[in-house]
Amino acid sequence: MRKINKILIANRGEIAIRIMRTCREMGISTVAVFSDADRTAMHVRYADEAYHIGPAASSESYLNADKIIEVAKKSNSDAIHPGYGFLSENAVFAMKCAESGIKFIGPSPEVINQMGNKIQARLTMIAAGVPVVPGTTESLTTEKDAIDTIRQVGLPVMVKAAAGGGGKGMRLITEEKDIVSMVRSARSEAKSSFGNDSVYVEKYITSPHHIEFQVLGDQHGNVLHLFERECSVQRRHQKMIEETPSPLVTPELRTEMGKCAVNAAKAVHYEGAGTIEFLVDNDLNFYFLEMNTRLQVEHPITERVTGIDLVKQQILVAEGHPITFKQEDLHQTGHAIECRIYAEDPYNNFMPNPGKIYNITQPLGLGVRTDGYVYEGYEIPIHYDSMISKLIVWAENRAEAIERMKRALYEYKITGVKTSIKFLERIMETEDFRSGNYDTNFIEKNKTFLLAETKCEESCEDMIIISAYVEYLDRLNIAQTSKEMYTAQNRWKKYTYQKNFERL
């Protein structure tokens, strides 16, 4: 048992702040790191200490393992929390931390490696009795092997890079005639992306559900799961909305999948928080897809229905504490939904839209949580992810949660950049989502409804025109007189209310 008194957070954005919040509640000091592009970022201001680690490009800052470890040593940090993305699933970094006597908050380098190699992960799961998507159990190093295997598994199949991730070196093959060319291009992309042209083959599941289980293990061999998260609402293979419980999962399926998730984690003596991702088809067959050996973006919905602070558990486990609760103590209470707010333009193929935030109104009140990091006047850098906030709601049941999410999205105002907020509101109104009857094809299937024009009626347009007119008159007026020194003291024009228009 080794008490952690100071943690360096090797990350930025909302997750850095989310981790610091729990640190603060636990009385642990926080150290932020920042790139050239992030001096004005919120995580720098939130932390107790902050150090510069390099240029804007991630590869020279947030991915610079040596520099980060150097800062950890200089600041006497006991541990490093990697968040998600960046170095969170980097076995070499975890190794270097250990060598420097700094606790890496996460599993061992060996486990990261084992799960990072997709073929090895598949083999591990098969050995643990966890169902995997039908396909190869070995990496296919020659073109011929690949083609033979595909014929054996039967079309449609997915060809994936063994060392892969992020959709690179991945190809869906649905027709016989494409096999050769697709295998070649997958191998070539895998080579150029990961320096390794090994690929493997999986049966392609049509319209699957993407359902994952949160697991938590300690250094004493205890592993339990914190139920599922339904993550099928995706665009460009990135999640937009997650919810728990999943509308698809029955109590029996939950028990069975939970058992598999725990077995999967136990098989590698998993330490810390991790996620087992499954594909589930419409007949409720489920298959291991991959394991994420880190905290997941969408962890707050699990926190909300179980009441467990997952970051706190990560830290306690890293200190060597055994988990204090048992599987049977855990329950899903009510229903939670998360919407990811991206700075992007849903009406232009979800094109990222970095820029300067003008005004923000946060949604507040009953059952609403926001985890964000942007503030008024902040300029979102072009170098990093376009997710600027997560909106999480909870309610007694799914129908109420959807209405609450609609209300929270209605309240959430971010101006200056385009965001996914309105698109998310449309999803809340989509019949397939409301009935819970959706899979990973949801957005594609409902595109027409989701992207339909819903502009306001004429009198509303006229109000906008009136506003612009008054703004113009005011601007003329301002140009003629001197501006006040302190603009904040004059934000709303002086006001004397008159009962009616008679004096006009």
Binding site: P354, Y410, E461, I464, E471, Y472, R491
Partner: protein
């Protein structure tokens, strides 16, 4: 004083008729409204029109007569068309056409690749520049068959929104 205001594609004529502090009588095209209008220095407007409450925010764009208007659900392009801008509009009528052959950046980002050089012949649909922003790469294609005339940026350079990148003739 009547001016014209463009909202997306609609152009409306607006005129203030009466004002008593925050109470305004305003004509928009043919309709007359009596509204209670409050606004602050950050461009946030609260309007009551026959009891209905409207919240509108105007965010200024780079050109001082352009705004993005945000309502609760939507956003709109707004342009103030006063005498000055009408004059400029008329004068630049011809230059507008040229800009169709200019590739501009819709968002800030970084130039990843420029596979063409000045003088190169390109076909409509050929990729002429790749921009990366927020971990996503976008390829921009030539809108016409033509010849690369000017390249305003270099590979690796950081660009702003609405910046001219490449001109084709």
């Amino acid at each position: 004083m009547s001016i014209e205001i463009r909202l997306d594609k609609r152009i409306a004529s607006v005129e203030i008729l009466k004002q008593y502090e925050n109470l305004l009588e305003i004509k928009v095209d043919d309709k007359i409204y009596q509204v209670d209008l409050m606004h602050n220095d950050e461009g946030i407007f609260s309007i009551l029109n026959k009891g209905r409450s409207y919240n509108i925010e105007l965010v200024p764009q780079t050109n001082p007569k352009l705004y993005t208007a945000y309502t609760l659900y939507d956003n709109y392009d707004i342009e103030i068309i006063d005498a000055e801008s009408r004059y400029l509009r008329n004068r630049s009528g011809s230059t507008q056409l040229i800009s169709e052959n200019t590739i501009s950046s819709p968002m800030p980002g970084k130039v990843v690749k420029i596979p063409v050089s000045v003088g190169d012949e390109v076909k409509k649909g050929d990729t002429v520049i790749t921009i990366s922003a927020m971990k996503m790469e976008s390829e921009y294609k030539s809108p016409i068959d033509g010849k690369i005339v000017i390249i305003h940026v270099t590979e690796g350079s950081t660009i702003d929104a609405n910046q001219k990148l490449i001109e084709i003739e």
